[in-house]
Assembly symmetry: C2
Homo-oligomer: 359 residues x 2
């Protein structure tokens, strides 16, 4: 059977080197090694170093592993806010992040934009009582991005609050300034082109101090995956519980591959491909670009409205072994979502552009 | 390089069919499929059905997936007790389970036995205010087991309380009666011979009702991994967040392999090998059986005291490509731990028996 090419927003196309790294992992019996061994610690250290280089993460920030990025929503709020959080909500995922805060008993403020629209951060007013500002760099359901520059500008106006950035469906694309961003996180089954089952949480010392203060005041900040517990273990390149060892190994290897290409080159390629894809969608008879404001259009998850039935188009493309994502929730019938992640080759993008041209 | 044979208590030797299942997963591109697809749901359903058959889990219980068994410690207490838990503690892991309850703000009762000793459940007195009784079928640090019959006898005396059984380092060995056991859990990197990164939580309707009551009373029971959230998704063979898809697939396949052997045959084999291994340890000049009471000796994680240096013996055996576990914590210098999991072949056990005879 012919192999499918995935342009889905995650799980997504696997990075071209995935199979070769997996073969090494099997040969070296990494599925059996102890998570308290030197071999595991150097494997964690390698992933840490490669991610630091790729994303420009300074020593003030730790790189921690969880079960998923969804878990980081919970852990970040538990450890970063005792009472109040602030959220920008413009789709299903930023909304769930917001809802987690209320489920955790916090007062969650939100500013909402309609599905498909972004924010003008200059107009935002964040109450001084807010401890944690939760931003979504890329709203996966709507294909709307909050540009890094906007995130940095907002933080500059509110230096006291902790800022956490969900970059689940955009990392490693956003060039975040970790001098301003206290925390950011992603999962590996999107822009890193790996199988699901691992969340990555980047978080700084100020965030850790907040978690420790919350705990000292009698707050509940989690057990094995409290920030102090994760942090303490990470200083020794270990984890509080047995982690997805294979996932951490593969992430380190793919991050190293991405570093060989270079972060700047990957970002440039992502931008160039996004321009081509949006242009093709706009020119296509059967498709239209969903997000109106060009500055808010995501470079990594592109949403297109379909003139005809979206499921029919998805089926047609599947026949050509091109797999794109369906529209989210109630947009299933009239939208498709196209991921633009580094795992896809130029040739695959060319095939997709041809299909878009014929839609 | 010669392949190592692992007799470590987890991560452990991979099941002999692991590579072949992994090759299928890669060929079928399971790392890229959507966790909201029919393909994923049938993969979850297959794992569910195979685990049900293997462990004799009735329809009253759901089979749920978490990031790790450690996470289940947290989720089980969050969802099963608003105020009070009761723990049998006789080693590092049952102690951590106990500590989680206090970290979660519960009143945690404990009955403690010295390291290497078990319990006489007839003598136990559980306060009527206890909502959740937390038992460890196999204390991995000390090689001490709490036999299933004892667990069942204790529950028969306290039918009102919820019972949860940690069988992390013994599943699929314990033949638990799920008419009595409300919940049990394990991780896949031990007796199932798979890479780490997945916890399995078996839990019944009574436990779910408790979680819902706690939530209704304003308690915090978790966000995406609250029991009601996991349960609702599992009814549709889905998960609240993107799970370790590959891990669930591999677990279903290995459970099917184990079913082909048969649960009874696996248990018999585990018992027979344990008898042989304990006999060899007792007869060896350099080793002695650590757990004094035969009824308390674990069949799946065997602890042996060493007359000489334990690290030296471990190194010597590594030279023969036989990898056993070190003694836990302060027992590192004077003990080794030997896992007896279904993944090892008769030939591998024979090699280990020879090495033990020469120790």
């Amino acid at each position: 059977m012919a192999q499918k090419i995935f342009f889905t927003p995650g799980p997504a196309q696997l990075y071209p080197t995935f199979e070769q790294h997996l073969a090494v992992a099997v040969r070296e019996q990494l599925g059996s090694i102890s998570h308290r061994s030197k071999q595991f610690r150097s494997l964690y250290q390698h992933a840490d170093e490669q991610l630091r280089a790729l994303l420009d993460v300074p020593a003030s920030h730790a790189i921690l592993f969880t079960g998923s990025a969804t878990e980081v929503w919970e852990r970040a709020i538990q450890n970063g806010a005792g009472r109040e959080t602030f959220h920008l909500v413009n789709g299903s995922f930023s909304k769930r992040f917001y809802e987690f805060s209320a489920e955790l008993g916090r007062t969650a403020h939100r500013v909402e934009a309609p599905f498909g629209e972004g924010f003008d951060v200059d107009q935002l007013d964040i109450p001084p009582s807010v401890e944690l500002v939760c931003l979504t760099h890329n709203e996966t359901s709507a294909g709307v991005s909050l540009p890094s520059a906007q995130i940095h500008a907002l933080k500059a106006r509110y230096p006291e609050a902790l800022f956490v950035v969900d970059m689940v469906s955009s990392a490693p694309y956003p060039a975040l300034d970790y001098g301003l961003v206290d925390s950011a996180f992603f999962s590996v089954q999107k822009g890193f082109g790996l199988p699901a089952g691992l969340g990555v949480w980047i978080v700084n010392e100020k965030f850790l101090a907040k978690a420790e203060a919350l705990k000292a005041a009698g707050g509940y900040i989690g057990t094995h995956h409290s920030l102090p517990s994760l942090w303490k273990n990470a200083k020794n390149f270990e984890t509080p519980a047995t982690p997805n060892v294979l996932g951490i190994y593969l992430l380190g290897q793919v991050a190293a591959d991405l570093n060989r290409v270079g972060a700047a080159a990957i970002r440039r390629q992502t931008q160039e491909r996004a321009v081509q894809l949006y242009k093709a969608i706009a020119a296509s008879e059967g498709l239209e670009v969903f997000v109106r404001t060009p500055d808010h259009r995501s470079a990594t998850v592109l949403v297109a409205g379909t003139r005809g039935s979206a499921p029919a188009l998805i089926e047609k493309w599947k026949g050509q072994n091109l797999v794109v994502g369906s529209g989210y929730g109630s947009y299933k019938e009239k939208q498709i979502r196209i991921a633009n992640f580094p795992a896809n080759t130029d040739e695959e993008i060319a095939q997709l552009l041809t299909a878009i041209g014929q839609a």
